[in-house]
């Protein structure tokens, strides 16, 4: 078999590699080039130098979107992971109906972001009306809280499944040994469970961090950036720059923002992976 793989590897790798190059690498390079251009359609692009990047880095809305996104990502990552881990711990205690609870908590994840956004938009607006408070699209802090609630509701179930899998893969011997040695429950959690859970934490943090940064559908459907771009996150800001404005220069601005955005997400992802990987233990 080994020999066969050695001989035939191009046959297995090439189709995927070709698809990857055609569908990802080439458009990415083209996108990089376009970020230095003015264009309406990509076949009629004219070079614009660094102006696009200068514009993107000095635009107030883009900078606001960056800080808004950063704040949102931090808050939602913490909320989602703490809640997901807590639920996962609760649901690995062999209470009755565990499977039912697991399915129910996971279900919100099956609904698409746009639909969720509209549903929560109606729900939250109704609640705000009843309380006599300004609606979501009028008051940015409510928009922010709404987004956090929405993301938590959608993501907690998914992260919970990953944590449950992680918890179940901790060998029972460890826990038993800890109990025999007289460790308390909280000691077991902090000294045994969490260190062994680090691979799950890595992946969950990575997912919720990048999800938070790349959030688009939910943002579009829930607040659409209202009021006055105050709840606009990076992805939506790029989309609005690219499609919401007319004129070739705007496409270039949008493209430059998208390149900056890509670098940012990759950088954050790598730093986070490195930081949490170093804490992982070998079982």
């Amino acid at each position: 078999m080994e020999k066969a793989i050695k001989r035939y590897w191009p046959v297995f790798v090439l189709p995927t590699l070709a698809a990857f190059i055609i569908g990802f690498v080439w458009p990415f390079i083209q996108g990089l080039y376009l970020s230095f251009c003015k264009f309406i359609t990509i076949d009629k692009a004219s070079f614009n130098g660094l102006k696009n990047y200068i514009f993107a880095l000095t635009e107030a809305d883009f900078l606001h979107a960056f800080w808004f996104t950063a704040l949102f990502t931090v808050v939602s990552t913490v909320c989602i992971n703490v809640a997901a881990l807590a639920i996962a711990l609760a649901l690995t205690r062999e209470i009755k109906g565990t499977n039912l609870f697991r399915s129910v908590y996971f279900m919100p994840n099956l609904i698409g972001g746009i639909v969720l956004g509209y549903i929560w938009n109606i729900l939250l607006n109704c609640a705000l009306t009843l309380m006599g408070k300004p609606l979501l699209s009028l008051h940015a802090p409510y928009g922010f809280i709404g987004l956090v609630i929405l993301m938590c509701w959608q993501q907690i179930g998914y992260m919970m499944i990953i944590y449950i899998a992680g918890l179940q893969s901790i060998p029972n011997d460890y826990l038993e040994a800890a109990r025999i040695d007289g460790a308390t429950e909280s000691q077991i959690l902090w000294k045994v469970k969490l260190p062994n859970l680090m691979p799950s934490i890595t992946i969950c943090l990575f997912l919720s961090l990048t999800n938070g940064f790349k959030l688009f559908d939910q943002n579009l459907a829930l607040t659409n950036g209202d009021p006055a771009h105050k709840t606009e996150m990076l992805a939506l800001n790029i989309y609005q720059t690219f499609y919401g404005r007319s004129g070739p220069q705007w496409k270039g601005y949008g493209q430059a923002k998208a390149v900056l955005f890509c670098i940012l997400v990759v950088a954050i992802g790598l730093i986070q992976l490195k930081a949490t990987r170093s804490k992982e233990v070998q079982q």
């Binding site: 066969a4 035939y8 309406i40 359609t41 009306t129 609606l135 007319s246 220069q249």
Partner: protein, 439 residues
Amino acid sequence: MKKVFALLLTLTLCVGLLSACGGTKTETPASSGSSGSSSAAGSVYYLNFKPEQDEAWQNLAKAYTEETGVPVTVVTAASGTYEQTLMSEIAKSTPPTLFQVNGPVGLANWKDYCLDLTGTDVLGQLTSDGFALKDGDATLGIAYVIESYGIIANKTLLAKAGYSVDDIKSFADLKKVAEDITARKDELGFAAFSSAGMDGSSDWRFKTHLANLPIYFEYQADGIGTTDAIKGTYLDNYKAIFDLYINNSTCDPAALAGKTGDDSRNEFLAGEAVFFQNGSWEYGNLVGEGKPFTDDDLQMIPIYVGAGDEAKQGLCTGTENYWCVNNSAKEEDIQATLDFMNWCVTSETGTKAMANDMGFVIPFKAAQESPNLFVKQDAAYTAEGKMPVSWNFPTMPSENWKNEVGNALTAYAAGTGSWDAVVTAFVDGWASEYAALNG
């Protein structure tokens, strides 16, 4: 054995690839073969802007293909995504040959892609040169539909309140009637205006259509047709009419931010409100099978704002739908497209479909009369000697300007923002957006 298995796998993969390529290859000669058999060699690809007319266009395209053998593809962009769709479609190897822009500002984006229509048959069919969209000497677009908007009044409810549409001849009259209805709201069981929803599905009625009035009167007063610096002379009138809408509506002004276009229409359909600001395109949603209204129930009245000569003010009538032909399409496709356009506006089938199925009034010589009540009322107003208010929103600097004004209006309605913010968005925003447009 393993070797054979690997080879087999590889083969299946390759077969999959080949068949995928083969599939597209066999398709091409088939379609070009059918057009080759007819006299014309080109084909038409129309990227349609109006989702509500999609079915009518598909039928018309089929009828044209049956008559002439020229294949016509009609694709309709989903509501609110026309620019995106056009942008990606036009970069393809078979781009749309016929597309739309919304006026001078939209044209600025697309003029490099528009064919100069000077000297074409279809241009000669226009009833007035005013319906051609020009850039310098070149005619790059042709208006193909004329629409009107105003305040649609439910005459039956108005009579219940003790008024008739003849009582409303000015802004003062409208205000008096609306405020009287509001005062007796509980007793009458209905409100004056359907909700001025500021959700994205409805806010264009105020940030674009209603905003046309102060712009129109300013252009009239200054004797201009466009400007890169609006003064906002008539913004007090804009405030007056908007205040009237939000304070005499079915709901609390603070709730308007979440109200949709459907909410507003449904209130009007359910008889909860007497007035509903909208246009002739709403006719099919209000009158007809399964709808509560007949032609006798409704009348569209001008939007009075207390400016200009109100006795002579008509409905807001104009267009923001211009046909453009793609200049980078193949020669034969361009010809086929021009022939198709000409056929649409001259032939019996074409003009009938546009008048009856699409409910359009078209600015072409061979136009048929439309059964649309509001269109007829517009003609009646003009016959009485009233001046239609022209559509000046195609001169608004950008979509972004409209959104900023919309945001400010929403906040003002809810009480979280001030009117000054609307004025700033309107006047300062206009100047800065024009600067960005030309910069």
